[in-house]
């Protein structure tokens, strides 16, 4: 008897506990219809906070500005900021929360490839809308993601072209140095294929991978030095990520390798990273981006003034992912106005083909493959932490989701407009979308 009654008591007790827990979790699903909610999914703590916090501030600034103009479709925009804490599964969890609990209409977020990959299944399942503002390795085109950063053909290949040209030093020998993750791996594979197609021999290409946050570069820099003393002009193409850059450049400078001897062109070093560097020894090294703070354009001056006023610190800088966020935000606003709704499918259709001014004085257009047209700029690092633009492409380069320099990828094509294709990975050989189940 006693057992039975106590089991009953347990059951009663446990159901109360359970109900309380569920209630507290779902309590905040109050849905206000009079605002348009914008999700901001950038890490505010952990290793990526260094880069991502700025983008959170950028989105908040753009929202504030839009609200001053009277909002969107007569409603105010409301930012929903969460912190995925540089933890990749947490990115997926927070995306679910933003879409299901907060019912946001659009998300601006992610920085690393792995965070995007983690978010991808969720955003496709719940049919959300993500603007991804960072240069990346390509090889992707999702219906629910718009890529406003550079694809490899908008950064890596023009940079190598520049170095091979006479003005860039007629480089004949290449060190491809990167952090061991997917962006450098893919970019270097593409570059390797591209260089070989330009007649560079296997032995004139040195590829080196290091772990995240690698801090002891003595051996590698000494190897680069040796590799560079074989009689041909040598350059380093660096896809070294974030934290590892400072010790890398410091070691270069200390071992006496200057930009005149072996220039380093980096794809992940921008104004913001430089603000954490002692730039003295870096002068002359290069970076390839689609935007530099030093770009000479009225719209850029205005953006910089607004940013400095918003953040309240005259020493802060602007950078390429900020421009990508700016373009993405303006495109979304324009598309919502055109579609007269925030419904994802309508906005998606309205987004393709939309053009907004970029910050370098040109125009960015959203292509059917969800990538942008972008100018490519090469900048040289200056003493003051800014880039001096030494070269730029004459016309904007359209972003290529699938590179032509990898055999498997060359077959694929992304088109979200052409009713015959309507997918992110259309195989031009088999004439169908390879595999995807959406």
């Amino acid at each position: 008897m006693k057992t039975k009654s106590s089991i009953k008591a347990f059951a009663k007790h446990s159901s109360i506990v359970l109900a309380a827990a569920t209630l507290s979790l779902s309590a905040s699903i109050a849905h206000a219809a009079d605002t348009i909610k914008v999700g901001v999914l950038h890490s505010l703590s952990g290793t990526m906070a260094i880069s991502e916090t700025t983008l959170k501030d950028t989105v908040l600034m753009l929202i504030e500005e839009q609200n001053k103009k009277g909002g969107l479709l007569g409603k105010k925009l409301e930012a929903v900021v969460v912190d995925p804490a540089s933890n990749w599964p947490l990115f997926a969890e927070k995306t679910k929360e933003l879409l299901e609990k907060d019912k946001v209409d659009v998300i601006f977020g992610c920085w690393t490839s792995v965070s995007r990959k983690s978010v991808l299944p969720v955003i496709e399942e719940l049919n959300g809308l993500l603007f991804y503002p960072v240069q990346y390795e390509g090889e992707e085109s999702s219906k629910n993601v718009f890529y406003t950063g550079a694809a490899p053909n908008q950064q890596a290949i023009p940079a190598v072209d520049y170095l091979m040209s006479e003005g860039g030093g007629s480089v004949k020998r290449w060190v491809l140095a990167g952090t061991d993750y997917v962006y450098p791996r893919t970019t270097n594979k593409i570059l390797e294929a591209y260089l070989k197609s330009k007649g560079v021999a296997e032995k004139d290409i040195m590829i080196n991978y290091t772990p995240f946050g690698h801090s002891d570069w003595q051996t590698i820099v000494s190897d680069i030095k040796k590799f560079g003393s074989q009689g041909k002009k040598t350059a380093v193409v660096s896809t070294i990520n974030g934290d590892a850059n400072v010790p890398f450049y410091k070691e270069l400078a200390n071992q006496g390798l200057s930009a005149e001897d072996i220039p380093v062109v980096a794809f992940s070093v921008g104004e913001e990273e430089l603000s954490g560097f002692d730039t003295g020894p870096l002068v002359g090294h290069l970076a390839a981006w689609n935007y530099f703070m030093s770009a000479d354009a009225e719209v850029n001056d205005a953006f910089i003034d607004k940013w400095l006023a918003y953040i309240g610190d005259a020493k802060r800088v602007t950078n390429d992912p900020m421009e990508a966020t700016y373009i993405g935000f303006n495109m979304w606003v324009k598309a919502v106005e055109k579609a007269k709704t925030t419904k994802v499918d309508k906005v998606h259709d309205a987004l393709i083909g939309i053009s907004v001014p970029n910050l370098t004085g040109g125009v960015a257009t959203m292509l059917p493959n969800h990538h942008l047209t972008k100018p490519v700029l090469i900048g040289e690092i200056q003493e003051n932490g800014q880039f001096d633009i030494v070269w730029q492409t004459e016309a904007a380069v359209p972003g290529d989701a699938w590179t032509d320099f990898l055999p498997e990828s060359a077959k694929l094509e992304a088109d979200w407009q052409n009713p015959k294709i309507m997918c992110g990975n259309y195989n031009t050989e088999t004439k169908k979308c390879s595999g995807q189940n959406y």
């Binding site: 700025t54 290091t210 000494s222 009689g231 006496g256 005149e260 002068v283 001096d388």
Partner: protein, 559 residues
């Protein structure tokens, strides 16, 4: 590289030739150019210099630089130096060439022609005359030739070395002239090398052979690079160096140079290993106190280093004009800051947890989260730039193949000094005696009249303070940001455990051997695998000696 140089110089000679012919026609009063120097009158000077504003392509600019260098303009050195250092601008409206230095409200500008002070101009009212790496190479050579005539020996040596790195036929007369006048042995050596580098491109076989022979015994990497270039073939399979005799002798000399360089490579590798080891030692030695001696699993140790690095940053902000001395000031400052924070943590948290070592892990982990977020809130999550003082930059050149970087040399010395001071403090002072007494037998020490609480706080403060000092050193090597500590904490624990908990000598030996092992594995296995091998080695080693390399003996180690 070789090809482009020939091309650009050919173009240069052609333009120079044209100029010599055209200039007299333009201004009748101008005297004809003499001995490579072009005399230019005032209005032409303005014209020539202003062309810097309009010249767009790299080739145009190279020609212009050569013209200016070979002119008799009084400003030529100043202009070229400003161009090289990036201080040469022009005003957007008046298209006037100015020297500009950055100023709080923009730039303070001085006109190049006429030296008129234009005061402070807005940062967007002027534009820089941009240069790239090609131009920098040319400028380096041109300016080196000019400064070969300097009174200062160090400047001449630098100039000669720069000429070695930017060899061009135009400089040969200047080099030879300088060789006659020069008395300093080092400068002569560098000049001879420079001359040989130029002669390597000479048309005469004898001169080239002589140049190659003169490299024998030298280990200069640029010379090796040129010799190696002679062995290469072009796209049609023809050697770039058509003369067999020259090529073979170059190959022979190159072989000898390379085999000699190998020995130095070994020395260099050992140096790399020792310097990595000394970084490990610095980061671990503080932990050897808090963890090794006190038994506190201090997860906030990395954050103490971070505080030290941020202290360095703040000190540099406070004394922007004395960057060279800032590090000296930062060392005691970082020791104080981290030490005080350590004492606060000990008094506030850890003292309640003695005898529960594993719980110190949890509490200090919480502290480390709080400290990281505090730094993020105060200084923003961005990395901060800490400038390297001039005496820490550059390298000590032993010879062409071996140069030891100064910052690493200083860090090796610094870590040894810190270790020795610490050993002295613990073994030879009264405070050290008390610290050892308390950690060995708290109750006994207490009953002998030692204020154990006070000693605990002091010991923890000492360990934390040393971590702060390590932070100063790290600020010279890596990022100063909120994550600085996290990247070193695990390595520090490994070093302490490998060396034997509670043994400072063990920590020293462990740090150095792990550093050297890592660096000798790296060339074969790559950076990642080398690290994995070292970790696996530590795991296996602990099986063999479960108490580390130098285990403490005696009763106190029994648990």
């Amino acid at each position: 590289m070789k090809l482009t140089h020939i091309d650009t110089h050919a173009v240069f000679r052609f333009i120079l030739f044209c100029l010599v012919i055209i200039l007299p026609m333009q201004s009748t009063a101008a005297p004809i150019a003499t001995v490579g120097q072009i005399k230019i009158q005032r209005e032409d000077a303005a014209l020539l210099l202003n062309e810097l504003i309009t010249a767009k392509s790299t080739v145009d600019k190279i020609n212009l630089i050569n013209l200016i260098a070979n002119s008799n303009l009084p400003q030529r050195v100043a202009v070229l130096e400003a161009l090289q250092s990036g201080d040469l601008y022009y005003t957007k409206k008046a298209k006037q060439l100015v020297y500009a230095h950055s100023h709080a409200d923009g730039y303070s500008a001085v006109a190049v022609i006429g030296n008129e002070d234009l005061g402070v101009v807005g940062s967007r009212a002027v534009r820089k005359i941009s240069i790239n790496n090609e131009l920098r190479t040319v400028l380096r050579g041109v300016l080196a030739e000019i400064s070969l005539r300097s009174e200062n020996t160090a400047e001449r040596l630098q100039a000669a070395k720069n000429l070695v790195r930017s060899p061009a036929a135009e400089f040969l007369p200047a080099i030879e002239r300088a060789l006659v006048m020069e008395s300093d042995a080092k400068v002569i050596e560098a000049l001879k090398l420079a001359a040989a580098m130029v002669n390597l491109n000479s048309d005469e076989q004898v001169l080239r052979l002589e140049a190659i022979e003169s490299f024998r015994g030298s280990l200069d990497s640029d010379a090796m690079s040129l010799l190696a270039a002679m062995q290469l073939t072009d796209s049609d399979g023809n050697y770039l160096e058509p003369d067999d005799l020259v090529r073979e002798s170059a190959a022979a000399v190159l072989k000898q140079m390379r085999s000699e360089a190998k020995i130095y490579k070994l020395i260099e590798n050992t140096f790399f290993g020792l310097s990595l080891g000394s970084v490990l030692l610095l980061t671990a030695v503080g932990l050897a106190i808090t963890f090794g001696v006190m038994g506190v699993i201090n997860m906030a140790h990395g954050e103490m280093m971070m505080l030290g690095a941020y202290t360095t940053y703040v000190i540099q902000l406070l004394m922007p004009n004395y960057i060279d001395y800032s590090i000296i000031v930062a060392i005691p400052a970082a020791f104080m800051v981290s030490g005080l924070v350590g004492i606060v943590i000990e008094r506030g948290i850890i003292r309640h947890l003695y005898g529960r070592p594993l719980e110190t892990l949890l509490a200090t982990f919480g502290v480390s989260l709080i400290l990281q977020q505090a730094v993020r809130s105060i200084f923003s999550p961005l990395n901060k730039s800490v400038t390297a003082p001039s005496w820490l930059s550059g390298s000590l050149e032993i010879n062409g193949a071996l140069s030891l970087t100064y910052n690493r040399l200083y860090i090796i010395a610094f870590s040894l000094i810190v270790l020795l001071l610490l050993v002295f403090l613990l073994k030879k002072t009264f405070v050290g005696l008390q610290m050892r007494a308390v950690t060995q037998n708290r109750a006994m020490a207490n009953s002998m009249g030692i204020r154990t609480g006070w000693v605990d706080a002091l010991t923890f403060g000492l360990g934390s303070g040393i971590a702060g000092i390590a932070g100063v050193a790290l600020s010279q090597l890596t990022n100063v940001g909120p994550n600085l500590g996290q990247s070193y904490i695990i390595d520090s624990f490994m070093v302490v455990v490998f060396g034997g908990v509670g043994n400072l000598f063990g920590t020293f030996f462990a740090a150095m051997s792990l550093g050297v092992a890592n660096k000798f594995l790296e060339p074969f296995a790559g950076a990642v695998l080398a690290k994995i091998f070292v970790l696996v080695f530590i795991i296996l080693f602990i099986q063999w000696r479960p108490r580390g390399l130098f285990a403490l003996k005696g009763r106190s180690v029994e648990d």
